[in-house]
């Protein structure tokens, strides 16, 4: 009979746990802009990736098979551990492991734009996405993409397969850098040293590029009103 007496206490404990979890999700939803349903699904994915632990390390992300094909794999994984992507300005450096909150904050860069967003909000979202991409290129965190950093990205994209030699990759990077310089600093004297691409330059280059539709992940919304199975509840 002892088990029946324990039931109300267990019930209370469980309810408390669920309340806490719900509150936690709502807080995360507020910070990241996802809905609680999406956060729940992402949390499940987080647990899958981390092997049911509290944090994800680089090795966990490294072992995703579909990611192995991606030439920007290393940069993408680093982006998750980059403090600059945590929406807190002025923090630089990288984390060793990330928790659910960090994971969601990085994911929020790829959140689809809300339907009723005004012009300002859309501009802000665009700026965020460009910033994410900029941080990915600017590996040392000094706010400027130098030629060396840019070359590295080109190499990652191209030369590992061996089809393109080191020299060719270098040449492509130099040509692209020259193009950038000519857009942003057209009146440079021949001896001036072009330091690198700042974030403003970056935005300038990509001004006309229509990237809103390409830089977000469309989460399937589980529409619960359409899926009752069996008899409808009275």
């Amino acid at each position: 009979m002892g088990s029946w007496q324990a039931r109300p206490e267990q019930q209370q404990q469980q309810q408390q746990q669920q309340e806490q979890e719900r509150w936690h999700y709502e807080e995360l939803a507020h910070k990241s802009g996802f809905s609680t349903e999406q956060i729940k699904n992402l949390h499940k994915r987080f647990r899958q990736l981390s092997g049911n632990k509290e944090t994800i390390s680089r090795a966990n992300l490294d072992s995703i098979p579909a990611l192995a094909n991606n030439p920007l794999k290393k940069q993408i994984i680093d982006a998750f551990f980059d403090k600059r992507n945590q929406w807190q300005d002025d923090e630089v450096g990288s984390l060793e492991e990330i928790g659910l909150e960090h994971f969601l904050m990085v994911m929020s860069h790829f959140r689809p734009p809300a339907h009723k967003s005004g012009e300002e909000e859309r501009q802000a979202a665009r700026r965020q996405k460009l910033r994410f991409l900029f941080n990915m290129h600017d590996t040392d965190g000094d706010g400027i993409i130098t030629l060396a950093e840019y070359r590295k990205v080109v190499e990652e994209l191209l030369s590992k397969s061996g089809a393109i030699g080191h020299q060719t990759a270098k040449a492509i990077a130099d040509a692209a850098m020259l193009e950038v310089a000519s857009i942003n600093a057209p009146h440079m004297a021949p001896d001036d040293f072009y330091e690198g691409i700042t974030f403003e330059h970056f935005q300038q280059i990509l001004k006309g590029l229509e990237m809103e539709s390409r830089m977000h992940i469309r989460f399937l919304d589980v529409d619960t009103t359409t899926m009752r199975c069996g008899k409808a509840p009275s």
Binding site: Q10, Q14, Q18, N41, L42, R45, Q48, L49, L61, I64, P65, A66, L67, A68, N69, N70, P71, L72, K73, I76, F80, M107, F110, F132, L133, M136, H137, V154, L157, L158, S159, K160, S161, A163, I164, A171, A173, A175, A176, L178, E179, F202, I205, G208, L209, M211, R214, M215, H216, I217, R218, F219, L220, V222, M227, R228, G230, K231, P233, S234
Partner: protein, 446 residues
Amino acid sequence: MEDFWAVVVWAGRIWLCLIISLIMIPAMFGFSLGISETYMDILVKILEWATLKLQKATAEEHALKASASSALIQREDGSMEKELEELRRSRPKPPVGGDFTLSDCFYFTRRGIESIVEDEVTQRFTSEELVSWNLLTRTNNDFQYISLRLTLVYGLGIFVRYCILAPLRITLACIGLTWLVIGTSAVGLLPNWRVKFWLSEWVHVMCYRICARGLSAAIRYHNRENIPQKGGICVANHTTPIDIVILCNDACYAMVGQVHGGLMGVIQRAMVRSCPHVWFERAEMKDRHLVAKRLKDHVNDKTKLPILIFPEGTCINNTSVMMFKKGSFEIGATIYPVAIKYDPKFGDAFWNSSKYSMVSYLLRMMTSWALVCNVWYLPAMHQQEGEDAVQFANRVKSAIAHQGGLVDLQWDGGLKRAKVKESFKEQQQKQYSHMVVGDDGSSNSD
């Protein structure tokens, strides 16, 4: 004290008699008394009732999910070339010099993030999610106290499963295995008359039937006219070692595998006495030619039973079919594909070998409600002209996936433990670099 023991012995005898008469004899002769059917009907009714209860209770919280394999995100269908073209076209300035630009990074970044959010492979190595709770503790992720009756049924279920069904099933499994060893050894002593083949088949099927009862397996076979014939190879999708019991309930196969020690070794040696199976030593498995030769010899001998092979090489969670290894498709024999689909409501059949050992897996199986599965025999397939082994394997795989309602994946099941091979990565990189350099090789030649 003596009375107590006398009672225990007497109860044990009654128990054995019941088992033998109600379960073993029907199993030996292949007819059914209808007990398990009644059990399954009651079970289905209880689970439906439980589902409705759960639905009503959680209706306000919108807690139901659409389907077990709900996708998280929607992916673009376009190929890499198409998307990169679009990205470049929308640039304000016409591309000159280095054709690739920062805009290409968008595409790859997005694809990378999509892979992190959801990838097809990692989710195949964990158990399938259920749409609604099936009153087992192990599938219970967020148990809420809903009603007294539901909890009572749940408690009763635990009692029935652990105290009544589990001992029964364990007894049956032990009897089945012992009988298999004894029976096959006995048949092996006979000289090679026709009777020997018939007897050996009968002993095998009987023992597997007892083992199947030992797991409360309810198997439905479809298209039995396509059953594998002698001199062919039977291929099936792999979810658990119990697949063997499921398939051997209906027909006799020759097994292929590594020689083990211990209990498995005893069983293997006994089986080989009554009819020829193909067991390899560990060292021999590495030599592909030797393996192929032995299989070929077996297949060419028309008196030997069809070989049973699981080309995926590892256990997948029964929501998809992964890459078939081409070894068995190179032999040139007739392939008989078989699709096996388990019903997850009654018990999760998937063996997650990294999480559970064989023994704890078997115990879990014996304390589930039941094992319900459908087996479809597909028409025989041959390798066509101009088709190499890999294409043939993919064709068979698609047929099996289509019939069983499983997702057809190109990925290798070995990714459970290993990383992606470098050759796959290089292919993608080659494709991309061709796009960049190949198009304007003239402006970039140094």
